[in-house]
Symmetry: C2
Subunit: 369 residues, 2 copies
């Protein structure tokens, strides 16, 4: 019986995620499975929470990984804090803002949006105007828009939301571990992330964090969370306290992987990790410039870890991606939505974010074009 | 910096799951991560679907693993097929029937239940009576009740449900891979399972299967599925068809693990795997009998993979479990709900289901009591 896993080869992952995985994480994933109520496992869970708080810059006690991928993190944040009829404002300048709109709408929220051109950031002044027009229960924005490579001004918008009664929800799927994320300093009440971007762990878990005020909102709900699997009011009884009550069986080995990912990042030092991302990003921009390839986003708003680059005229973008993958074992990403066929998305995330990887990619791209 | 993963040791997992993992699965989990849209990965996904169909005995084309643990499978099955006001009948004789009731209620279903004594199976005659009283949209039952060790008569109940317009939903979390599960022959429309029981893979994925009739129900919904992450009408576009559309980033390495788990089972042969479970179960019952320990469930309704055993009088059950874990590296499970303190739950699942493991356990238990 042929086994397809035998032919899997190392690929240089430079798409929008997953990114290359730290070698120590592969070792972690293959540690022996133990029980989800084993005291040794509970102790690992406790340290994961502690590691996450350090990387998120928060004191929030409800800071845990949810048992699903980044989108499960989005679902968790909305489904726990929104009740039907709640007024929600979502800032949209890419696919993931649109996804938030869809998620919140399905839960019965009254959703307004402020939209910005894709490839440009959200403008705080426009947000301010909208907040003056109407009282919202929740305002949501994506920190690092993975579909465009834009960094939104999350801190500035947080200052505006602080002056209202609204909860502030931020998507940090692509930013966490690659650029600073300051949950407490930026007044973020609710946030979620993913493991397969700058944390450099395989996909499968979604770290989330909730301020005490947001936790109180969950406890004060008039209706049960319409999602048993992601109901944080029950999940916390497994992740916190002296008696850990079974809710669902935690994904043990994936949590070993996340533990190791956070360990690697904190061991290297957050500042040094951010610097590595920035250096690799700048090396990429220089290499692309030499090939006459332009960036979509203005320098000021560029994400180091997700580079949206304009496809040169006359180039068959899909065949370039195919050749890079087949002949050079390098993956880059296509554009999404209105940017499909117009940009490539080149990821410089986590373990991938090293100048030597950029050099290998630049050579391969030059040979392919 | 101390790394807690360094001190993880192999444990003989004889609780209600996770079970011991096939060694080849650890190797699979640590294969290099590749992209979720890489053709090599798509090909692995296709074979996972094929493997699952063989193990479930179904031709259902919508047969895929959901990106969450077994309870996410339960959530997926209900949230996709129930709309507010739908009439649902749930058969309850343990914790997981109760969980179904909670899940369905949160989604706005009108839920009726037929309850049976914990430790005894659902009685088809009682189900028949209830089905004659009222028209239901959906009837749900747990095949292998993990909280009691009881096997419910899923085939017989399927015959009754077939004569109504209701969809038949079955939880096979603990049964799949340990005893026959005949999705098509038993008229099951909707089913879910988990990876950490008899599939012997770490927890993290939930195989599900939907009949064409159930898929049509999803397509005919009047309302959007109130759960973006688990909306099968979108997820199928990633798992099926010629253009695989990104929905959420699949948990790549966990899917390697599931591929390998299914590969191991099919390579050994389903019949031989079932026989191994039955032999290990009988060896366990004999060993317990020698120690004067009785089973909770009558022989006819006993599950081989989940053995509910009565705690002998005067024994401090928690301290026995603690000693087994600390001194013998063997995990067994406590009772849940009304059976807490009254039973132990001894798992004989997947790679654990070997007579030599039973012998090791019996010796350790004798030394501990």
């Amino acid at each position: 019986m042929k086994n397809q896993l035998d032919s899997i080869k190392e690929t240089l992952l430079m798409g929008p995620g997953p990114s290359c995985v730290y070698p120590d994480i592969y070792t972690a994933l293959s540690k022996p499975t133990i029980g989800h109520l084993d005291p040794k496992f509970i102790s690992i869970m406790d340290e994961i929470k502690d590691f996450l708080k350090q990387i998120m810059n928060t004191e929030n006690s409800l800071t845990i990984p949810v048992s699903g991928t980044g989108s499960a993190g989005m679902e968790t944040c909305f489904v726990n804090t929104i009740e039907p009829g709640d007024k929600v404002l979502i800032l949209i300048n890419g696919v993931f803002g649109m996804r938030m709109q869809d998620v919140a709408g399905r839960l019965g929220a009254e959703v307004d949006t402020v939209e910005f051109e894709w490839g440009t950031p959200a403008i705080p002044e426009n947000v301010k105007e909208q907040l003056e027009k109407k009282d919202y229960n929740l305002v949501a924005v994506v920190h690092a828009e993975t579909s465009t490579g834009v960094k939104n001004p999350v801190a500035e918008i947080g200052e505006l939301v602080k002056d209202t009664k609204a909860f502030y929800l931020v998507d940090t799927v692509t930013s966490l571990g690659g650029i600073p994320v300051e949950v407490d300093a930026w007044n973020i009440d609710i946030m979620y992330s993913g493991t397969q971007k700058c944390l450099s762990c395989p996909p499968g878990l979604a770290p989330v964090s909730f301020s005490d005020r947001a936790v109180q909102k969950i406890l004060d709900r008039k209706t049960k969370v319409p999602n048993w699997y992601l109901d944080l009011s029950m999940i916390v009884n497994y992740w916190e306290g002296s008696t850990r009550a079974y809710h669902h069986t935690a994904p043990i080995n994936m949590l070993y992987g996340l533990y190791q990912a956070l360990y690697c990042i904190l061991d290297e030092g957050l500042e040094s990790v951010f610097k590595r991302h920035q250096e690799a990003h700048l090396a990429l921009v220089r290499s692309l410039d030499k090939l006459g390839i332009e960036m979509l986003v203005e320098p000021e708003f560029r994400l180091p870890m997700l580079n949206a680059v304009k496809i040169p005229d006359g180039v068959d973008e899909a065949s370039v991606r195919k050749k890079l993958l087949e002949e050079h074992q390098i993956e880059i990403g296509a554009g999404l939505g209105p940017l499909a066929g117009k940009i490539w998305r080149i990821g410089v995330m986590g373990h991938t974010a090293r100048v030597e990887n950029i050099e290998r990619f630049a050579k391969a791209l030059a040979a392919t074009l």
